[in-house]
């Protein structure tokens, strides 16, 4: 297995931004996660290691350090509910409970139908518009449980 050609081309462009190859690793892992199943699979780590001239264990050490890199395949949609202080003060507990109820997914788990994964995450920098969640990379802010249910209900 090897990285798809489009990613290789992208990574080669990325390399031109930095004096050292490894600097492009984290941006590259982001692209891999986006393009290759929503997570960083062992195969992805091996392929990236080969591309960057690293050992797979070095890629693993880096990938596992960063909470945004998922080491398990997620559901079709990923809801990341902020549960840090500003959101907690404005009802993230209730929001999280609603998200779990609507999606059928446990916290840090995936719904039985595989449609939703629900995570709690630390501060997302949307504190003045708390509470919030990130749904598939898009922030939804100033949420109420009802608003959240509506948004999740509209997800295909």
């Amino acid at each position: 297995m090897a990285l798809p050609q489009n990613l290789v081309a992208e990574f080669n462009e990325l390399l031109t931004h930095y004096p050292h190859k490894q600097a492009a690793l984290i941006p590259a892992l982001h692209r891999c996660q986006e393009e290759l199943g929503g997570w960083i699979s062992p195969q992805t780590m091996e392929d990236c290691a080969a591309f960057f001239g690293l050992e797979p264990v070095e890629v693993y050490g880096v990938a596992s350090f960063y909470p945004m890199f998922r080491m398990r395949p997620p559901g079709k949609h990923v809801v990341s509910v902020c549960h840090n202080i500003s959101c907690a003060l404005r009802g993230s507990d209730e929001l999280l409970a609603k998200v779990c109820e609507v999606t059928g997914a446990p916290v840090h788990g995936t719904s039985a139908d595989g449609r939703f994964s629900v995570n709690t995450v630390e501060c997302q920098g949307a504190c003045a518009n708390a509470p919030m969640f990130d749904l598939d990379g898009v922030y939804h802010e100033d949420l109420t449980p009802e608003k959240a249910a509506r948004i999740l209900g509209e997800v295909k």
């Binding site: 931004h17 930095y18 004096p19 050292h20 190859k21 490894q22 600097a23 492009a24 690793l25 984290i26 941006p27 892992l29 982001h30 960057f52 050490g61 880096v62 596992s64 350090f65 960063y66 909470p67 945004m68 890199f69 998922r70 080491m71 398990r72 990341s80 549960h83 840090n84 202080i85 500003s86 907690a88 003060l89 404005r90 507990d93 999280l96 409970a97 779990c100 916290v107 840090h108 995570n119 709690t120 995450v121 630390e122 501060c123 997302q124 920098g125 949307a126 504190c127 003045a128 518009n129 708390a130 990130d134 990379g137 898009v138 922030y139």
Partner: protein, 443 residues
């Protein structure tokens, strides 16, 4: 509400300011033009920023001009040099840099270029937290426009100033907002902060001279170049000059990111700017500048929001991210959340931090769940004293210890109440807080 002069968010409020055409119509890149057309030297740029008294907006409040002057003389040290812009905004409560990046990306890029010019960096790396997709995209698009217009890259505006600006995505680790953790992460490694010395100005990215500045810090630079140090000093206080972005969250009627001069009182911010505590409730306490600045009780509300005055309370200005808590807030629960956060974000290198952040979290959680012992309260203090100050490679350990010490100092009786009652007094009798998640781990 009293009117204060503004500049930081003026352009951001204009429709379409994220596009080059609109931004330029409203003054974007004028400082850069001025520098390059009038032949202002890098030393002059550093001097005017020094004179302005601009202090870093990323939390530590270090004088920016002085930081720039730490970069070695290129005549004596011809190594490549870099500007790393810290857009990893992750301190709980902080959401200000995002506004600048989303709404005035050209103003931000100009700030990067002015700073890069001052330190003679040939490349700028903007390290954006990975979750900030929208701000990232806005700056990315703006960069593409600016590059096309000859504002970024080789021979900027026809001058001999070359500077590339690259965007770089982080991946959710708070510690990468620490400048040396940021550099490690930018190099594609685990974001482990580096021991200092050596300092970034001598040994930064890839071992080369590097300056790390916050988004809002560099954003101020073009205004100072355009309008002068005296203008800048006319706002704020003697030791904290200019305006700053204050992000207010929590229990206020109008949370938001507001541009205010240093020195306004916290009361003005809560009561006037933000319309008071929500639901007509009374204030219990507030964090003046993010979760790592010690909580202050309501009695400190008249404190002026500037470095010295906040420091005098025993807290810190931090990122000026005020987190406001009403009278019903459980301080133990609030700090359990904060302790959980620091446990989650400790990189794990230093023993005190890796183990201490977990330990503090466990004690807060036990007390909140009614399983606390009286000696736990003092243990929070002694453990925090073992974690800080300056006992670890970076300040994350301090950031966990400081709010712990503050809350025990100001709200000890609330802890005692939890212990004596064997339950959280803010919960209905016989109920426990639902345990929805042990950890915020995303994987």
């Amino acid at each position: 509400m009293s009117q204060h002069p503004t500049y930081l968010l003026d352009r951001a409020k204009i429709e379409g300011a994220h596009t080059l055409a609109v931004a330029q119509k409203h003054g974007a890149y004028e400082a850069l033009r001025k520098i390059l057309k009038e032949g202002i030297t890098y030393a002059q740029v550093i001097q005017v920023v020094k004179d302005s008294g601009l202090r870093g907006r990323g939390g530590a409040g270090f004088p920016t001009g002085m930081k720039w002057s730490f970069m070695p003389d290129p005549a004596k040290d011809p190594r490549p040099r870099y500007l790393a812009v810290n857009a990893d905004e992750s301190e709980p409560g902080t959401c200000k840099d995002r506004v600048l990046m989303e709404q005035d990306p050209h103003g931000f890029i100009e700030g990067c270029l002015v700073a890069a010019y001052a330190i003679r960096a040939q490349a700028v790396y903007i390290y954006v937290r990975g979750e900030y997709r929208h701000p990232y995209n806005r700056v990315f698009q703006a960069l593409a426009e600016a590059r096309k217009a000859g504002l970024v890259g080789k021979r900027i505006l026809g001058s001999d100033f070359d500077c590339e600006v690259w965007m770089h995505k982080g991946a959710g680790a708070y510690i990468c907002g620490e400048e040396t953790g940021l550099m490690e992460s930018l190099e594609g490694k685990r974001g482990h902060p580096r021991p200092k010395p050596p300092f970034p100005a001598m040994f930064g990215l890839w071992g080369q001279p590097t300056t790390v500045n916050n988004v809002e810090t560099v954003f101020n630079a073009p205004f100072i170049v355009n309008r002068g140090a005296a203008w800048f000093q006319s706002m704020g206080t003697k030791t904290s000059t200019g305006n700053l972005l204050v992000g207010v969250s929590g229990h206020v009627n109008r949370p938001g990111v507001y541009e205010l001069p240093f020195g306004v009182s916290c009361r003005e911010i809560v009561e006037d700017v933000c319309g008071g505590v929500w639901k007509g409730k009374r204030l219990k306490g507030f964090f003046p500048g993010g979760s790592s600045t010690g909580v202050l009780p309501a009695s400190f509300l008249d404190t002026k929001l500037e470095h010295d005055a906040i420091k005098a309370t025993g807290s810190m200005l931090g990122t000026a991210a005020m987190i406001v808590m009403d009278e019903d807030t459980c301080m133990v629960r609030a700090h359990e959340i904060i302790a959980r956060f620091y446990e989650h974000e400790s990189c794990g290198q230093c023993s005190q931090c890796r183990e201490g952040t977990q330990w503090l979290h466990q004690i807060f959680r036990r007390i909140e769940n009614g399983e606390g012992r009286h000696e736990d309260i003092d243990m929070l203090v002694t453990l925090s004293q073992g974690m800080a100050p300056g006992k670890t490679i970076c300040a994350l350990s301090d950031a966990a210890a400081i709010p712990t010490l503050a809350v025990v100092k100001h709200f000890r009786s609330e802890f005692q109440e939890h212990v004596e009652k064997g339950a959280c007094p803010h919960l209905p009798a016989g109920t426990r807080r639902p345990v929805l998640a042990g950890h915020g781990a995303a994987h």
